[in-house]
């Protein structure tokens, strides 16, 4: 009988664990067992009580927690969390407004970028720049709208900063590229702010974002150089190389943390290397020198090795690498001639 009883218990608990609402069959089983159990009080009573206490907890967690919530949560607790919810919803909607503007900035930047890309297809510079410049005004307007929104929460400027951060970095990279194409010099932080109308909008360009934008500018350069050379502009590598060397040297003055900017800065040296390679290809074939005398009559054409020294003053290791490179190329050329 005991074994049968145990089976019944296991059957009941088992069927319950599958179905939280006990089917009628199980319920009708219960009186049977209990009647059978009544005569023998102590040992099976324990079992029974366990069965009985299990009953309300057929799905223990849910039933139990329901029982707990009957006790009213203190009103002050509810009120505090309600206040917090309102606060968070407000900041959430502010963030959504910011993101909407940033999306517009992004799309405007994309247009600007795509029109600037024509530079690689050797379209005339003024035409390309003019097309791209149209977007600057649009960006100005968007940033002043963004500043308008931020003004509601000047205390929390950096809470939302991440939302427009990467968009701004791209904007800086494009602006500085355009500026370089126009003037051949670096777009300064203040100039970038001025171009975007930040000063009148009461907005500021983070120095970190500005610097990251410059790293993106550097990433664009190798491609530009290659395409300029393809288009027959043999002087371009020298110009770009000088610019990137200066920029790289300037970046070396910064003590960077191990963050995104640092990573981007590390990538700059590969851009520099790539441009150097293009430049040496030009130099070795005596392609660059003629052009540079034409364009800049005052400049004397230096011998390959001399020029090497002046441009690769970044570090000695770089220099020696380049020297071996040149020497090996010289050697090859010599061999070629003998043949």
């Amino acid at each position: 009988m005991k074994a049968a009883f145990r089976n019944a218990v296991s059957f009941i608990t088992h069927s319950r664990s599958i179905n939280p609402n006990p089917p009628p069959v199980v319920v009708s089983l219960l009186p049977l067992i209990s009647i059978a159990a009544v005569p023998s009080p102590s040992p099976s009573l324990l079992r029974h009580t366990r069965l009985e206490t299990l009953r309300p907890f057929s799905s223990p967690l849910r039933r139990y927690s329901m029982a707990g919530s009957e006790a009213p949560a203190s009103a002050s607790l509810d009120k505090q969390f309600e206040d917090i919810r309102v606060q968070l919803e407000e900041s959430g909607s502010l963030r959504e407004r910011i993101r909407a503007i940033v999306m517009e900035i992004d799309s405007s930047t994309r247009i600007m970028h795509s029109s600037l890309l024509l530079v690689h297809q050797s379209r005339p510079l003024p035409e390309v720049l003019e097309k791209a410049k149209v977007q600057i005004d649009a960006l100005k307007g968007l940033y002043s709208r963004l500043a308008e929104v931020i003004r509601e929460c000047t205390e929390e400027y950096y809470r939302y900063h991440g939302d427009w951060r990467s968009a701004t970095q791209t904007v800086v990279s494009l602006l500085s590229f355009m500026h370089w194409l126009e003037t051949g010099s670096l777009l300064m932080h203040a100039e970038a702010e001025e171009k975007l109308g930040f000063n009148s909008a009461g907005f500021a360009l983070d120095i970190e974002d500005y610097l990251t934008g410059l790293c993106f500018l550097s990433n664009e350069m190798p491609r530009y150089v290659v395409n300029r050379v393809l288009a027959g502009d043999y002087d371009c590598p020298r110009k770009v190389l000088n610019f990137l060397t200066d920029l790289n040297a300037a970046f070396r003055m910064l003590n960077l943390r191990n963050d995104f900017l640092r990573k981007k800065f590390d990538s700059m040296k590969y851009d520099l290397k790539r441009v150097e390679e293009v430049y040496y290809d030009m130099k070795i074939r005596r392609l660059a020198s003629e052009d540079s005398t034409e364009n800049h009559g005052t400049e004397e054409v230096p011998a390959v090795e001399n020029k090497l020294f002046s441009v690769s003053n970044i570090n000695l290791q770089n220099f020696s690498r380049l020297l071996t490179h040149t020497l090996s190329v010289r050697f090859c050329v010599g061999v070629d001639r003998r043949i």
Binding site: S76, S185, E191, A250
Partner: protein
């Protein structure tokens, strides 16, 4: 001049005397850069590289200054974490007999955390935009919130709210500046951690025989979990909070299961005590008897 006007423009907001969030980098570069930038356009490449160097020297100053500050904030945050942990351990030493004494010591230690370490953090953060450094100080603040709410719960059985915490920090702030406030996000993250400690406390109380107390903790933790379920999707960067919600649910379930076991055994005791053998049938409707 443009910078000055920009600053003035931001100051149109009611809190005119307070330093503005981006003042830091305005100080760092913009003003001095205006003149040099204009020079750059007219001069040849030679001097443009020196202009570049000048400008970058200023950026370097700014970055150095800022990184040093960040390091100091991180240090302060870690000190807060260590000492808040100590307070939490102190509270766990509580038992039925020494409750008063243990809590007194814990509260004293907590006050020391505020005076020695949080005051240092406040000094660093005040007057700058602390949101920029949030990742640096957030762990410490969360731990402090955990300790403070834990003490408070053991003392009164209620939740220490954010206004009360900020009120205790008020004396640390320089009265001329906007007082530094702990933000809602850190508060909620701290509360999420609190449930883990409460779980330990509940288990401890049960083995100490204080079932009533454990059930009180159970109700409290459930309330917190319920309230946070509603809030966490609204939080700024809720990936952190998501994992915390999962751990919190685990803690809640653990407490509930522990209470459940006690509950079950407790009913056994009462039943064994009562001599009426039919009492276990009370749950059944009469018709089925």
């Amino acid at each position: 001049m443009l910078t000055a006007s920009a600053l003035r423009r931001i100051s149109v907001s009611p809190m005119a005397s307070k330093p503005k969030p981006h003042r830091l980098h305005q100080l760092a570069g913009t003003t001095a850069l205006h003149s040099s930038a204009k020079r750059a356009r007219t001069m040849s490449t030679e001097s443009s590289s020196t202009t570049m160097k000048d400008a970058f020297a200023k950026y370097a100053d700014y970055l150095n200054h800022f990184n040093e500050k960040r390091e100091r904030v991180i240090k302060a945050s870690r000190d807060i974490t260590i000492n808040s942990k100590k307070v939490i351990f102190q509270v766990h030493r509580m038992s039925r007999l020494n409750k008063e004494e243990v809590l007194k010591k814990a509260e004293k230690d907590l006050a020391a955390v505020i005076n020695q370490y949080i005051s240092r953090l406040v000094k660093e953060l005040q007057g700058t935009d602390h949101w920029k450094l949030r990742r640096a100080y957030s762990p410490g603040v969360q731990e402090y919130i955990e300790a403070a709410t834990f003490c408070k719960f053991c003392r009164t059985g209620t939740l220490l709210n954010l206004e009360e915490i900020n009120a205790t920090l008020l004396p640390l702030s320089d009265p001329s500046l906007e007082p530094l406030k702990i933000n809602v996000l850190d508060y909620l993250l701290g509360l999420a951690d609190l449930t883990g400690e409460l779980m330990r406390l509940a288990i401890g109380r049960i083995s100490d025989g204080e079932f009533e107390y454990a059930e009180k903790i159970c109700r409290f933790v459930r309330d917190i979990y319920r309230e946070l379920t509603l809030l966490f999707p609204l939080m700024d960067d809720n990936s952190d909070m998501k994992t915390k919600m999962d751990t919190m649910l685990e803690s809640v379930v653990k407490i509930e299961n522990a209470c459940f076991r006690v509950h079950v055994r407790g009913s056994e005791y009462t039943l064994l005590g009562s001599s009426d053998p039919s009492s276990f049938l009370l749950g059944l409707p009469d018709s089925e008897l």
